[in-house]
Amino acid sequence: MEKAELIEKINEVLIEEFEVEADVITPEADIKSTLELDSLSLVDMVALIESEFKVKIKGSEIAQLKTFGLLYDYIWDNIEK
């Protein structure tokens, strides 16, 4: 899988789950404010990434993943290729 393809897939599942418009997701955008995540729905995003991409985001790392760009990189680095 190419990274662009992965990014497209990540955006697709996030848009579907968190019911946002496609154009609000950009690499620089803040994940929590864009997806309107609180502490609970943040758990759902972690679970979604884990179930869709088999990538487990550790609790200590989630706080660092502030933007979609950082999330893409994290998943790309950890996904089974």
Binding site: E19, E36, D38, S41, V43, D44, A47, E50, S51
Partner: protein
């Protein structure tokens, strides 16, 4: 003591979505019972159930509101939105007053089953998701309703088995009567899925008349063989008479009294004494003559012992002066945690529209039901006061008396 009035109603049941549809189903004696192959494939003794669709709330509520709602909370949302609208209450009113919430619910099996299944399969609790804990608790309905409607008064779930919805209304009325709340959103909700009732099926409580689903629930009939599970949600808005007048609200009826009792006896087999005391307490507190009661909405679920003992209790209290008695469960099945609230609404719809819905499938009485006046056909009758019974496992009993205004 303050007077307590009903100013709004909303319902989502197998008889229809909303008051108008439900009124028409009651008037025409329509059954909401079907055969469910899924249950049969799961090994149920009886695959009979009430049928209703889970409302689609995408576009109505946000994802972060819906994720905490199991099906019964969705039913309750729809019923409550209708009741608030019916009562002329908007969000500005709710934001600026301490409105209470007292809702009956006594299970949330499907989310419990699904989250435990995920834990067992995945060995990772994160994958259960954030909604599971809130969906799994008995208080799931009041959790969601209080947050969605931003309610600021009493916030409590009533778990009183199959009398939950009735107790919720009675307890809400007590809060208002004692001046502790001016308005309370009351009701009852019941999930409709196989996981919720499989264990109930397992104790042979359900009718096995699968060949003829609409004939299966037959309260008071000699040939009844068990109940049929149902569900949905029903909401009534109750408030002090002063509050209703001040708001210029449509005052529909007055809750005259709430009687209650406990059998102190068997966990599932009802007796005669407990329900009789609940009836007597309600009549005494209402301060009325029994002749003033024009209709009794019985708890009768279509079980052999339950219906017989309720018939005895009603006859004990009313004797030959008994008005028409019916059980709307003949059409709806047993709506359990919801039933006490929905049956107040069914009775209200009859009272407001001048009819008594037929106790469908009542073809032959038994020794005890023969002493009561149970119409199998619809009756056109104006009445101004009704009594509604609700009884539950553990011997919990609730009786409400309501008068037209």
């Amino acid at each position: 003591m303050k007077r307590v009035v009903i100013t709004g109603m909303g319902i989502y049941s197998c008889l229809g979505n909303g008051l108008d549809a439900v009124r028409d189903s009651l008037y025409n004696g329509v059954s909401g019972i079907v055969f469910d192959q899924v249950r049969k494939d799961m090994g149920f003794r009886s695959a009979l159930t009430a049928k209703l669709e889970v409302p689609e709330l995408k576009g109505v509520l946000s994802r972060n509101q819906r994720v905490y709602m199991p099906e019964q909370a969705k039913y309750a949302y729809v019923a409550t939105a209708e009741a608030l609208k019916n009562a002329g209450i908007d969000q500005d009113y709710l934001d600026s007053h301490e409105v209470g919430l007292m809702y009956g619910n006594d299970s949330s099996a499907e989310p419990v089953y699904k989250s435990i299944q995920t834990m067992l399969d995945k060995k990772d609790t994160t994958l259960v998701g954030s909604g599971a804990i809130f969906q799994s608790m008995n208080s799931t309905v009041t959790m969601s309703l209080s947050c969605i409607f931003r309610l600021k008064g009493m916030n409590l779930t009533v778990s009183g088995a199959c009398a939950s919805g009735s107790h919720a209304i009675g307890l809400g009325a007590m809060l208002i009567r004692n001046g502790l709340q001016e308005m309370v959103v009351c009701g009852g909700a019941q999930e409709v899925n196989p996981y919720a009732v499989g264990s109930f099926d397992g104790i042979s409580a359900f009718s096995t008349r699968e060949s003829d689903p609409t004939k299966a629930s037959r309260p008071f009939d000699r040939d009844r063989d068990g109940l049929v599970p149902g569900g949905g949600a029903a909401t009534v808005i109750i408030e002090s008479y002063e509050s209703a007048v001040k708001r210029g609200a449509p005052i529909l009826a007055e809750i005259l009294s709430y009687g209650f009792s406990s059998n102190g006896d068997h966990i599932s087999v009802p007796n005669v004494d407990g329900p009789s005391r609940s009836l007597q307490m309600a009549i005494k507190l209402a301060g009325i003559n029994i002749n003033e009661i024009g209709y009794i909405n019985a708890h009768a679920t279509s079980t052999p012992v339950g219906d017989r003992n309720e018939a005895k209790a009603i006859y004990n209290v009313f004797g030959d002066a008994c008005p028409e008695v019916t059980s709307t469960k003949a059409m709806t099945g047993h709506e359990m945690w919801m039933a006490g609230a929905s049956e107040v609404i069914y009775s209200m719809l009859m009272m407001k529209n001048g009819f008594i819905a037929p106790n469908i499938n009542f073809e032959n009485p038994d020794e005890d039901s023969a002493k009561l006046n149970i119409p199998a056909k619809r009756i056109e009758k104006k009445f101004d006061t009704f009594l509604s019974n609700s009884f539950g496992f553990g011997g919990t009993n609730s009786t409400l008396i309501v008068r037209n205004l």
